[in-house]
Symmetry: C2
Amino acid sequence: MIIMLSTKEKIFNSSIDLFSKYGYDGVSIRQIAEEVGIKESSIYNHYKSKESILDAILEFYINEMTNDEIPLSKAEENLDVDFDYFYNAGLELYMSKLKSPNMMKITRLILIESYHNEKICRFLKNEMIETPVNGWCQLFELMKAKKLIKEDCDSKQLAESFYYYGFFLIYQHFMIDYPEDDEEFLKKLGEKSKNQIRLIYNSVKAV
Amino acid sequence: MIIMLSTKEKIFNSSIDLFSKYGYDGVSIRQIAEEVGIKESSIYNHYKSKESILDAILEFYINEMTNDEIPLSKAEENLDVDFDYFYNAGLELYMSKLKSPNMMKITRLILIESYHNEKICRFLKNEMIETPVNGWCQLFELMKAKKLIKEDCDSKQLAESFYYYGFFLIYQHFMIDYPEDDEEFLKKLGEKSKNQIRLIYNSVKAV
DNA sequence: GTCTATACTTGGATAGAC
DNA sequence: GTCTATCCAAGTATAGAC
């Protein structure tokens, strides 16, 4: 199947590719135009400025990422049946969102640009750190209520111990090892996260 | 005590300050000159190019950070006397290196610039990730040999579980919460790391 | 919608007077 | 060692012909 992309879509995709490689400031309108195969002035027929391209990219990413969260009610039903169920479902959902090439590239772009783009920084802080940590925190609370883990342990600390480790793996892949194979990374992320959750669980499980 | 800084030192310090705030590309020679209180052409009497300023900053940081590593022999002596001893000594040393304002600022600069500066990326990968992880790995091996932790646990995994968590806290401080109070951060880093090491130890301690 | 041509700005760097 | 003056390159963006 051959998909014809509109010029606007080509600009969008090429910008994602270049921004994620060289950063926003590291890419010129001229470069994007060249990549697309048009002159730079033609870009302005589709986007009103360089910044508006970035905005469109971010909007796309945010929309993709903030859909269909996992309802906690579902966890409650399944937790005592099988802890792995909930854990795997969450990981799968997250990874399914991430695994398209564009989403992977934008993830790197977000990590690169967060230091001087307030909007990106806020998204990173809220949606990629605080919200997931709170989700894990609630899950540990639930486990506590179900007497799966000790009563006196700190859910917030457990959530951070788990999630920060995973976040580091993402950081490492996109900022240190980039551009290593994405597929292999996602596989490793799954395995390593599983080990980490086991380590933590082993430390606090009810006897 | 009043310390008179040479123009070269002023350029050095102002560059660290500006680069760490806005990134290398985000700062112009003109800005640095203005901050110092001279004209931009005068900069070139002290540094041959903008890039050579960055190089000087990195060299300074790398020299400060790669001195006096903790010898493992010292750990071996003290480990069964008091595990906390070794842990605290390591953390103290690390934090004492980091706590000058310039060192803190350069840390942020390194995190910001790693994605498109190969030299910085290599330093980050080797000296700020691999070397410390290997150090912790050896420590866990030692603990295993001393039967403090279970024989069948994976030292590398434990080292990563511990260190990646700490690295995230650093990343968070410098890239998300910046510029929050550095002193308070270092205190929090110490406490949280201690909790993390306890959590891990609790999971694998010999019975 | 794309092109050519061009305006305008900013940034790195150098020459030469003092 | 600092200044003024200037050069050159590169970047964003616009006007107007086709």
